[in-house]
């Protein structure tokens, strides 16, 4: 594995560009020692995070007019992605996790993305600079305790 892999991408606020996000994340995480299913979960976590920004940080009428920036970095110990946008503040780390029993029993369709992100990634850190931008940093360590969770974890 190379010592450091660094990639950056800027995409419009449009879900059709999620495939580019998944491709670049896949390109980076496959450089690491992540097993395939772990790599796929990381791709899913980044996909969910960017989808959340598109759905919550920007109003629908601004679709395509604003941009989302992703900076991905991989070293010997971890994969890290920083996602920046200039939309409304939205802190996924502050959202209360749903009571899954109630969530399922009530037949709710939404609200699982953040739960999955926090199950998959080791660190989810959000910061907001008023009037400037949102920044979401997510980290997955290559030797993560969550990697060995099979029953209740993700």
């Amino acid at each position: 594995m190379p010592e450091i892999v660094h990639r950056e991408i800027v995409i419009p606020n449009d879900t059709q560009y999620l495939s580019q996000v998944r491709s670049i994340v896949k390109e980076v995480v496959t450089e690491a020692a992540f097993p395939d299913d772990e790599a796929n979960r990381i791709i899913l976590a980044v996909d969910e995070a960017v989808t959340n920004i598109m759905q919550h940080a920007y109003e629908h009428d601004l679709e395509g007019n604003l941009e989302i920036e992703l900076v991905l970095e991989l070293d010997n110990t971890k994969f890290e992605v920083v996602i920046r946008d200039t939309g409304k503040s939205f802190d996924p780390a502050a959202i209360e996790l749903p009571d899954l029993d109630q969530h399922i029993k009530n037949g709710k369709r939404h609200g699982l993305g953040i739960f999955l992100i926090r199950q998959i990634m080791d660190e989810v850190i959000y910061s907001y600079k008023n009037g400037i931008r949102n920044e979401l940093k997510m980290v997955k360590y290559t030797r993560s305790p969550k990697s060995s969770q099979h029953q209740s974890g993700c």
Binding site: T15, Q16, L18, S19, D37, N40, R41, L44, D47, E48, T51, M54, L100, D101, H103, I104, K105, N106, G107, K108, R109, H110, G111, L112, G113, F115, L116, Q119, H150, Q151, S152, G153, C154
Partner: protein, 114 residues
């Protein structure tokens, strides 16, 4: 995303394949909300060819489970791949929805009232 449906003895078999991503969620919701599914006595969801699904798709499956079981009908999941299996386990669906290895096994279990 790809999907197809079949019907045997009042049981609907819905087969999902490929990947359910942001642009596919409305189509999945429409497929799972069809009259055939609403009127069936049981639903088998064959996930053996499904590689990937996002959180909204999981929510749509949860909603189908809720609708189906609240009307006294049954639902079975068939043979999810490892990624899909882990996601469904993570959100607790495995504690609620029976999982079978094949459509035939699911149909046999349903015919026994399981």
């Amino acid at each position: 995303m790809e999907f197809s449906t079949g019907k045997t003895d009042g049981i609907i078999v819905l087969k999902l394949g490929g990947a359910v991503r942001a642009g596919d969620n409305d189509a999945l919701q429409d497929a799972l909300g069809s009259d055939d599914i609403r009127k069936s006595k049981a639903v088998i969801i064959d996930l053996s060819d499904l590689e990937y699904l996002n959180s909204r798709a999981i929510g749509t499956l949860m909603s189908l489970w809720k609708e189906t079981t609240s009307s006294g009908r049954k639902i079975h999941i068939v043979n999810p791949k490892p990624l899909v299996e882990r996601l469904l386990k993570a959100v607790g669906m495995y504690t609620l929805v029976p999982v079978s290895r094949s459509v035939e096994d699911a149909a046999a279990a349903l015919s026994k009232g399981e």
